[in-house]
Symmetry: C3
Subunit: 273 residues, 3 copies
């Protein structure tokens, strides 16, 4: 199967299994993360107290760690949850929001990646450049990196190599690589960068695809493509109205997404590495 067929099949798995996904995430975009998890067919649970995160992870099918509004309490909770996930063989995805923007974020990313084995890391060019040890600049957490995908491919490869996991770098062109294979995704719409949290939501979707049993490379590609396709459909539906209606239309599109739409709209470019 090519990636389009794999992504379409995995979407159906999400909808039929409805995996429970544990999210420890930021309070800015958490409602959207829960709603896109439901929209794609999975079941979200948000819990971040250190006394319960391991318990909740243990009954979940995937764990999503997002450092968007990290603090000392939730950092500890993320580590406990991640260790439990590793112990139980539950896949973990990391969203290093704003990595590079503060010492605390940098230290936290280093600590998390040292103590936890991730299946996927999902970020934008500046975030994954930081993780990869390349020069990066962070301007906010909703930055849209406009490039041809070449810098992105390098940063994604380096990040994947450093962490020994799949790296999903989202931008004008998305790049997914597990260090061996690499796929570029030509879906999406610039308006996605005018709604906060579309990156976080993409990471949540990757968590849903992981929780349905997808291998990390396919799950990452499926989640990123799903958001890109939803952005295109939402722009058609509500782009002229403005970013509030577009935001809801993105969730609408995810909730209606099916195999047929994925097969018609996904634009994967499978290039090898």
């Amino acid at each position: 199967m090519n990636m389009t067929e794999k992504a379409a099949a995995l979407l159906t798995e999400v909808r039929s299994r409805s995996p429970l996904i544990h999210n420890i995430t930021n309070y800015v975009t958490v409602n959207d993360c829960a709603n896109v998890t439901l929209a794609i067919g999975a079941s979200p649970i948000m819990a971040d107290d250190e006394k319960e995160t391991a318990d909740i992870t243990a009954i979940s099918s995937a764990l999503v760690l997002n450092i968007g509004t990290l603090n000392h309490r939730t950092i500890e909770s993320m580590i406990l949850a991640g260790e439990k996930a590793n112990e139980c063989g539950i896949p973990v995805v990391l969203d290093p929001v704003g990595a590079g923007a503060s010492l605390l974020r940098n230290d936290t990313v280093r600590e998390l990646t040292r103590q936890i084995r991730f299946s996927v890391i999902r970020g934008n060019l500046s975030e994954l450049s930081y993780v990869a040890g390349l020069p990066s600049s962070t301007k906010g957490v909703d930055s849209s990196d406009r490039d041809t995908g070449n810098d992105a491919a390098q940063a994604a490869r380096e990040a994947a190599a450093r962490l020994g996991c799949t790296a999903a770098l989202t931008g004008a062109v998305d790049v997914i690589t597990d260090g061996t294979e690499l796929v570029k995704i030509h879906n999406g719409h610039p308006m996605l960068s005018r709604v906060t949290g579309t990156g976080c939501m993409t990471t949540a979707l990757v968590g849903a695809f992981l929780g349905a049993g997808g291998d990390p490379f396919t799950a990452a590609a499926s989640g990123v493509a799903a958001m890109g396709i939803a952005g295109e459909l939402a722009f058609r539906e509500a782009g002229e109205k403005g970013t509030g209606s577009f935001h809801m239309a993105v969730i609408d599109a995810l909730s209606r997404l099916d195999e047929k739409t994925v097969k018609e709209m996904a634009r994967f470019e499978e290039t090898g590495n």
Copy 2:
């Protein structure tokens, strides 16, 4: 008056009194809880620091405690607020989100119900089964329990008896009982379970109806029916678009809800106990 007439009259009370409702709730669905409180005609205030919760409760007409994203800080705040509410004769409603899913949640529910007298507890089948001491299984916090209402009636009765309060169990068929009377509600739409927080929002609505002076049984039935009716109206309006638009349409419908709509659409089945 039958329950339909009581619920319609109480809605008008909410809109004319605009009671202040103190919510200590989770950060996933808090914005929706505030917005449905406003939509139904009440005035929300969210405050969770232990140094001010009692002050805020003291000026409010009802208190809503929701353990969706509990932590040691907010648990203490909930207890202080609940004790103040009991002292002042202010009604309190509990939403035991995810009860049964972790030791921390179970311990917290036990602690809260030991130290605070609740007027209403609102949960789904697995949550109220846990509270009632019956076998339960939790799969996420947005679980939709599909049953005929028989198990639900038993769990609601047991929970009401244990806590000495009204129990409101929401599912395909909702069951409200104060231990003496019991009413089933045949409103709602399955799409409500595809939006996060419709349970939390229902609890917030019950708080608004309590704050307007409703007795616990009527307030619980009114809040649950309001959400069910809003779900039906929202599905007509936006069901085909998807869950994002449906979500907004639920709030739209609550903001337009009036006595006439309640009288036309409420489907209460008053069965005695």
Copy 3:
């Protein structure tokens, strides 16, 4: 230039500079604050851990402090961020949500205004009356003060004098004064008070206009007028649907706002002081 021309020009500055705005705000309305910041053309970053707030402030063009759901951890973070902003010459706006409603809020407002020099304070009549040392009553945090603007002008003048900054008092008629000049704004729609956080969002907009280099008086007037105009446009678009759709339409209108619309719709009354 009159205020309409200044506000229109400053809007274009926001859209062309896309300033990074650091918000330490409440978890009820934070998603909306981020989305209106993006809608108006700026770039939001939300970070509230005391170990990173100063770092984040230092790379930002303005700082927004909102005490809507304050707690001891975030109060400390606000002070650290505010001090860094003062040190670096970065403008700071304060939203004293619920000032007057609890001892903690009152103490916090006193502490913040003692330790930090603000460029703008934005609140409703009861909040700014508290800040001004005038009699006030708080009923919730979404109170809409219905008055002719006379009490408002007095409270705004006193608050501006006490803090030595621009005071922006929003209500049926908005009043902005820096102690020397005063402008009233006759935009807005009552439905704005039926959506939670329109006050917080207005403060976030003021932060965006400050971050684009606006002087405090112009930035405050521009932010308040932008929300008022958006409310009017949103009511035309979605007022009949209900408060959920109206909420999204407010964000839609902000995302489409341009110089032409500001010039056509802004209703500033420049009265001198």
